[in-house]
């Protein structure tokens, strides 16, 4: 679905069904160097099971016009503006990695209008090594390969996503390369460096978590090398969130698509307002 947000074109995938703002709305927010398609299976399932789904492409990612937000807080404000443009009054927020921090900020920003919060593959702080940030500037394709390698727990996650026959490591790499190239071609610069800088710079996590009033859930990957489960403990405590750990790396939605979906469905049902 195309929307106009702050005079720029924005895109949100609606799960293969027409968006109906009268249904309980779930907003999916992707992570750094990703777009809506990382949620393909979870969004399609929820959209066909009674939810209105908005899986956004953040500005500068996928089909939403850039430039990309320069901070987690700015991205959260853009999400709030997108909801206004879509006519959504209340919504659950589900984010992955960088997107989980944006979901956290959005949930705090919208107060009682946020019904639930799910943070997938998250940590706080989400610090990025200076070496990776330097590599992102000098050798972005090498930095993509490094992050891609660290995002997967193995070579044979089954049944694969979005369907059998997909090589997850290759799909994630191709997506990051596509987004990096498109952002540069649009004249905005180095998306990888910007996204990872945004993660690294975010400092308000614990303070923001204490302002979140809705029920929250952490979904973590047992073998996650990007955001290991132990690095989410402080945030989980501040949110007083439920937590589940799945046998997966950082690419949880692809490596454990059913586990993530089952976790979401169960949480959304039991914590519905």
């Amino acid at each position: 679905m195309k929307l106009n947000v702050n005079d720029r074109e924005a895109f949100a995938y609606t799960g293969g069904k027409a968006f109906d703002a009268n249904l309980p709305t779930v907003v999916f927010i992707h992570g750094a160097m990703h777009d809506h398609s990382v949620w393909a299976l979870q969004t399609r399932a929820l959209a066909h099971q009674g939810h209105a789904v908005l899986a956004v492409d953040l500005p500068g990612h996928g089909r939403s016009a850039g430039p990309a937000p320069a901070s987690v807080e700015a991205a959260a404000r853009w999400v709030a503006d997108l909801l206004a443009a879509a006519g959504v009054k209340r919504a659950a927020f589900i984010g992955h990695s960088m997107g989980s921090l944006i979901a956290l900020e959005a949930a705090a920003l919208l107060g009682d209008r946020a019904t639930q919060l799910v943070m997938v593959g998250s940590s706080f702080p989400m610090k990025v090594s200076p070496a990776l940030l330097t590599m992102a500037l000098d050798q972005p394709l090498k930095a993509i390969d490094m992050v891609n390698a660290l995002s997967h727990s193995g070579w044979a996650a089954k049944p694969s996503a979005p369907a059998p026959g997909f090589w997850l490591n290759g799909g994630n790499r191709a997506l990051m390369r596509r987004l990096q190239a498109a952002y540069a071609a649009a004249g905005h610069g180095n998306l990888f460096h910007l996204d990872f800088q945004v993660c690294d710079a975010y400092a308000a996590g614990l303070e923001t978590a204490r302002r979140v009033r809705c029920p929250s859930l952490m979904i973590l990957g047992h073998s996650d090398q990007m955001t290991p489960p132990r690095t989410a403990a402080t945030l989980t405590g501040a949110l007083r969130a439920d937590s589940i750990t799945l046998p997966a790396g950082h690419s949880l939605m692809a490596e454990a698509p059913d586990g993530v979906l089952n976790g979401l469905r169960s949480f959304l049902a039991r914590s519905a307002p």
Partner: protein, 433 residues
């Protein structure tokens, strides 16, 4: 950063897509010889059919053993995924049928396997898909042949039978300037010798019957997507960027940014045309892939010895191997194929048709048959077999004469191959009198 996080080619050849079987602990890939798979519930069944969940329903669409092969070849090629098919020809047809329909047009290299030429020139024309053939080295010809209704450019990494090296960087750039993908047949090279995606190709397919399988036992194909082509950026591909009534009005390019092509190819082409691969075939090809790099090294090493032998033999007019300085693709081969130009090549025998027949019939180690990429050495006369449907003009365009003989060099002791060829060349010489 080699290791578990970033495995190399040989490690991927053995492990990509496969893990010990969770239910039995079996280390080798099990053969799931089952047509269909039990649903956990009615809701689970509906979710699988609607692509809300990933999983196997029916082995024409996907199968756990075949999926391992698909992931493995995708990993070796550097792609996002793959679809295994009943043959290489089925893979080519699946690629074309996913992107083109009646009224569409293809620009193809003229240096093709005879079966591919038949499909494009005769059969697809009957279904309203036209093809313009261009000599692979005619760069301006590629550009000039593109029309508004063109849907893809196509060529072989090593053109059959003259081994013209496809200038993938240049041809892919021409394709991309027009918003078109480049499809490459990489059968003769395998991902060990070249990864076409690294040079700009968008889709790759193999006749897995050949080097991937490597043992001349099964027929199969694999179609791989790089995930790099933006199907959404062009109005030429409504099949991928508009709602498809044949599958819940799915817009494949929305569903998956990098996997749209494969989703459509599986959900339409494999479902409706049905040219799927048997899990047993997939398993045999997986066995071959486990030793792909070892075999390709030996194939190339043996081929180089045979090429050197033939190039200096009095009965041989010419040898068409790109590593030879006189070959038209010599410089391009050095750039794109530093590990070697495979082990399938042709040479022209001096003398008449009778002498050619005598040569082939005198061979003892080489087998006279219609295949390439076997671990055993093979020989054939293209003009009377693989390319017999082509007229003289088409043969000439493909670089084939009546004296052309094609060899596929296997894994035997190189000295035994040279001895066999030496005896056969003597027989050919005697047949002149």
């Amino acid at each position: 950063m080699p290791g578990h996080s970033d495995p190399g080619f040989d490690t991927l050849s053995l492990h990509a897509g496969a893990a010990p079987d969770p239910s039995t602990g079996a280390r080798a890939v099990p053969i799931y010889l089952s047509t269909s798979f039990v649903f956990e519930s009615s809701d689970h069944a509906a979710a699988l059919f609607n692509m809300e969940r990933s999983g196997h329903v029916y082995s024409r669409i996907s199968n756990p053993t075949t999926a391992v092969l698909e992931e493995r070849v995708a990993a070796l090629e550097g792609g996002v995924g793959a679809i295994a098919t009943s043959s290489g020809q089925a893979a080519l047809h699946l690629a074309i049928a996913t992107l083109a329909g009646a009224g569409s047009h293809i620009v193809s290299s003229s240096a093709l396997y005879g079966g591919s030429h038949n499909l494009l020139h005769y059969t697809l024309a009957r279904f309203g898909i036209a093809t313009t053939f261009v000599k692979p080295g005619d760069i301006d010809g590629w550009r000039a042949a593109i029309r508004p209704e063109t849907r893809l450019l196509f060529g072989e990494t090593l053109g059959n039978p003259g081994l013209d090296v496809l200038d993938i960087p240049t041809i892919s750039a021409i394709a991309h300037e027009s918003g078109l993908p480049l499809l490459v047949d990489s059968t003769l090279t395998s991902p060990y010798l070249i990864k076409p995606f690294d040079h700009g190709a968008d889709l790759v397919y193999h006749s897995a019957t050949k080097f991937l399988s490597g043992h001349g036992t099964v027929v199969g194909g694999v179609l791989v997507d790089s995930g790099q082509f933006d199907w959404n950026a062009s109005e030429r591909f409504p099949e991928l960027n508009q709602a498809y009534a044949g599958f819940h009005n799915m817009v494949f390019s929305e569903e998956s940014t990098v996997g749209a092509f494969l989703l459509r190819a599986r959900r339409e082409g494999l479902r409706d045309f049905g040219a799927c691969m048997s899990p047993h075939t997939a398993w045999l090809i997986l066995q071959g892939i486990e030793t792909l790099s070892l075999r390709m090294e030996r194939h190339v090493s043996n081929a180089r010895k045979v090429v050197d032998f033939l190039a200096s033999h009095a009965m041989v007019e010419s040898v068409g191997y790109p590593e030879l300085p006189g070959h038209t693709s010599h410089a391009l081969a050095a750039k794109l194929l530093p590990r070697g130009c495979g082990s399938v090549f042709s040479f022209n025998l001096k003398g008449n048709r009778t002498q050619g027949k005598a040569f082939i019939e005198a061979l003892k180690v080489f087998s006279h048959l219609a295949n390439v990429g076997d671990c055993r050495s093979l020989v054939i006369h293209p003009a009377s077999t693989t390319h017999f449907r082509m007229d003289d003009a088409a043969l000439a365009q493909a670089g084939i004469t009546q004296g052309t003989i094609r060899l596929s060099i296997g894994l035997e002791d190189a000295d035994d191959l040279l001895d066999d060829l030496s005896r056969a060349l003597k027989a050919a010489q005697k047949a002149a009198s």
